[in-house]
């Protein structure tokens, strides 16, 4: 019992929490940006895979690490463009299209990886983002070792939270984005383009999702594995509802999830096999479902979410 509580005092536990949370921060931010503009993007799971694979491949082929990050974002935006064109001007089912984008992005990434590396026993590696290890942090008790283990990629995630929060809350663009997911007629009446705003939001959101994937191959690990995303994208969709579409709460939700995941991993070693490991591995998924069900009743969904908009038609 004492050992289970002691986990919370370990710097390693909190460092792992941040590491697990980082891709989810990107994913939830991306999902909430799309949904704030009125588009559900179930392409997220596949966009994670494509971001992880393309960012990693770019670095493997000689680009600098930040070049890989950029490539992943561009690939994400491209799949966002596909999802956006099919669901916004063409008004196709956002559910089915999103599943289609996930299948497409996943299969392109897997096929591309197999073409590049037909027969490798161990996945090829790259030199991943190094830990920050800033001199000023080194001597700070407790926080020092936690933050020192993180990379610049995690700092980027926190920066994205702040930027997105400010843009959504404080800028004319943010106002237009929120309005286009709540009341597109009003946006059209202002002389703004509903299609343009929604497309832009889905592309930017998808780029963020791809960064979540790229973090895994460029920072958390240094290689690409099949099945490495393993539902992380879907978890982000659940966390978005939990975060009631706010960047600040998105950060909180991702950290909570990260803490739970890091905790169950450590609890597994403490119980020493007395409880099957799968029970612990189920916890994060069950936690996401519980979080979704608990907040669903009073969730303040963007009012025009999943409602296609056609000019001059109510």
């Amino acid at each position: 019992m004492w050992a289970a509580l002691e986990i919370l005092t370990q710097a390693n536990f909190w460092a792992a929490t941040l590491r697990i949370a980082t891709p989810l921060i990107f994913g939830v931010l991306g999902a909430l940006l799309c949904e704030r503009a009125g588009v559900l993007n179930l392409g997220i799971e596949g966009i994670f895979v494509a971001g992880a694979m393309s960012g990693w491949l770019a670095v493997y082929l000689g680009l600098p690490l930040w070049g890989g990050v950029l490539v992943a974002a561009l690939v994400g935006a491209l799949f966002g463009l596909l999802h956006g064109v099919l669901t916004v001007p063409l008004g196709l089912s956002q559910h089915v299209t999103g599943i289609g984008v996930t299948l497409l992005a996943t299969s392109i990434a897997y096929f591309g990886y197999r073409v590049a590396f037909p027969n490798v026993a161990t996945p090829p590696r790259i030199e991943a983002f190094p830990p920050l290890d800033l001199p000023i942090l080194r001597d700070v008790p407790f926080l020092g070792p936690i933050l020192g283990q993180q990379t610049a990629f995690t700092v980027l995630a926190f920066a994205c939270v702040i930027v997105l929060a400010l843009v959504l809350a404080r800028t004319p663009l943010g106002l237009a984005l929120r309005a286009v997911g709540d009341n597109p007629e009003a946006v059209e009446a202002q002389g703004l383009s509903v299609v343009g705003l929604r497309l832009g939001a889905v592309m930017a959101g998808s780029a963020l999702m791809a960064l979540g994937g790229a973090f895994l191959t460029l920072s958390a690990f240094n290689a690409f594995y099949f099945g490495m995303i393993n539902g992380r994208g879907w978890v982000c969709i659940a966390l978005t509802v939990f975060a009631s579409w706010r960047p600040g709460k998105a950060l909180l939700g991702a950290l909570l999830f990260g803490a739970l995941d890091a905790y169950q991993l450590r609890l597994q070693t403490i119980t020493g096999g007395a409880v099957p490991s799968q029970i612990f591995l189920m916890l994060p998924y069950l936690f996401s479902i519980a979080a979704l069900v608990l907040v669903a009743r009073r969730a303040d969904y963007p009012r025009a979410l999943m409602k296609p908009y056609f000019k001059g038609q109510r």
Binding site: H95, T97, F111, V241
Partner: protein, 355 residues
């Protein structure tokens, strides 16, 4: 300027043409990454066609692969008809498979004519129970069923792994995590001796016909369709929306559960954690290709199965990764979605002055 004018009625030939066209467009689009990868494009496609339908044996293999896809395609079709977004057929398939092994691998000692139906009913109920949880969450708490069904897929797969490494592990299997084999009395017989094709296919086609009759000819079918068209209007009209949703959940989850039973009791004989290479997700593609028509699910499933079997055989022959099949499947889904616009709208060119 181009305008979309909604159609009052869609001719049947157009719906068919769109589905067939979408499959062809998907294959054509796949030629691009195939060419980029440096593979001989025409030869690859030739190997795919040969592998899927080049001989009686090959075609039997395609039909064998189509069997679970018919079940999961029907599961998606009936749910999507009612706008219940069940993306959890993969998990429900495993629930059905687990029930098949639990009942059919020695627990019950019954003659074949009793044990096979018991196992099938048990598998269907297991799949249905798994879907009724998110349906309940949706009706009671307004929780989005898409995310819940998706996440449950991962939970169920972990549960299966736990059972296969623990209570259900076959001690004779040399440490490999697999279940004990199902009894002979619980096995679905082969259709033709010497081939892997089994009675699951007959059951799947029967389910397609049954679902077609239910949806087009019965009151409950009408209610399911009404809920899908407009749930609020259906409620105002006094239709039992919750009961209709529960029925849809029962049917959809049950059909996905049968996919698991058919794979275990008809084909594999025991359960492993890699029983399904994504049959649940492919079912969504099958249903969409079939325009959510139960009878259309059968040919759509055969097409998708042919893509998988053909790609496997091509991959063996010339070493192109069989992830190509997933690419064709994904592109088929997106093509048929776009093509669906043609069935719902007439595309009219209008002069700008006139508009």
């Amino acid at each position: 300027m181009i305008r979309f004018v909604p159609r009052e009625r869609t001719p049947v030939w157009l719906t068919l043409a769109v589905s067939v066209g979408a499959g062809l467009v998907a294959l054509l689009l796949t030629a691009i990454p195939l060419a980029l990868s440096g593979a001989p494009v025409l030869q690859s496609f030739l190997f795919m066609v040969q592998g899927a339908a080049g001989s009686g044996f090959a075609f039997a293999e395609t039909l064998t692969r189509a069997t679970p896809l018919i079940f999961t395609g029907l599961a998606a079709a009936v749910a999507f008809r009612a706008k219940l977004w069940n993306i959890g057929a993969e998990g429900q398939l495993y629930a059905g498979a687990l029930a098949t092994v639990a009942l059919g691998a020695g627990l019950l000692d019954l003659p074949s004519y009793l044990l096979v139906p018991t196992v099938l009913v048990g598998a269907a109920l297991a799949g249905a129970a798994l879907l009724l949880v998110p349906v309940f969450f949706k009706m009671r708490f307004g929780a989005d069923e898409v995310v819940v069904t998706l996440l449950l897929n991962f939970v169920v797969l972990l549960f299966v792994q736990m059972m296969l490494e623990g209570p259900m592990k076959d001690e004779m299997a040399l440490g490999w995590p697999q279940s004990a084999p199902v009894l002979d009395e619980a096995t679905l017989p082969k259709l033709v001796p010497g081939l892997r094709l089994h009675w699951g296919l007959v059951l799947a086609v029967a389910c397609a016909i049954g679902l077609h009759v239910l949806i087009t000819r019965t009151v409950w079918g009408f209610r399911i369709r009404a809920v899908g068209e407009n749930a609020r209007a259906a409620r105002y009209a006094g239709l039992p929306v919750s009961k209709a949703m529960a029925l849809v959940g029962l049917l959809s989850g049950g059909l996905a559960g049968l996919a698991g039973a058919s794979e275990v009791a008809g084909l594999k004989g025991y359960l492993t954690a890699d029983l399904s290479p994504g049959f649940g997700y492919a079912g969504i593609v099958v249903a969409t290709l079939a325009n959510l028509s139960p009878l259309g699910v059968v040919p759509a499933a055969v097409f998708i199965a042919a893509v998988f079997v053909g790609a496997d055989s091509m991959s063996r022959a010339i070493g192109v990764s069989n992830y190509l099949a997933d690419l064709v499947v994904a592109l088929s889904l997106l093509s048929v979605l776009v093509g669906g616009l043609l069935t719902r709208f007439r595309i009219v060119l209008v002069r700008r002055e006139a508009a």
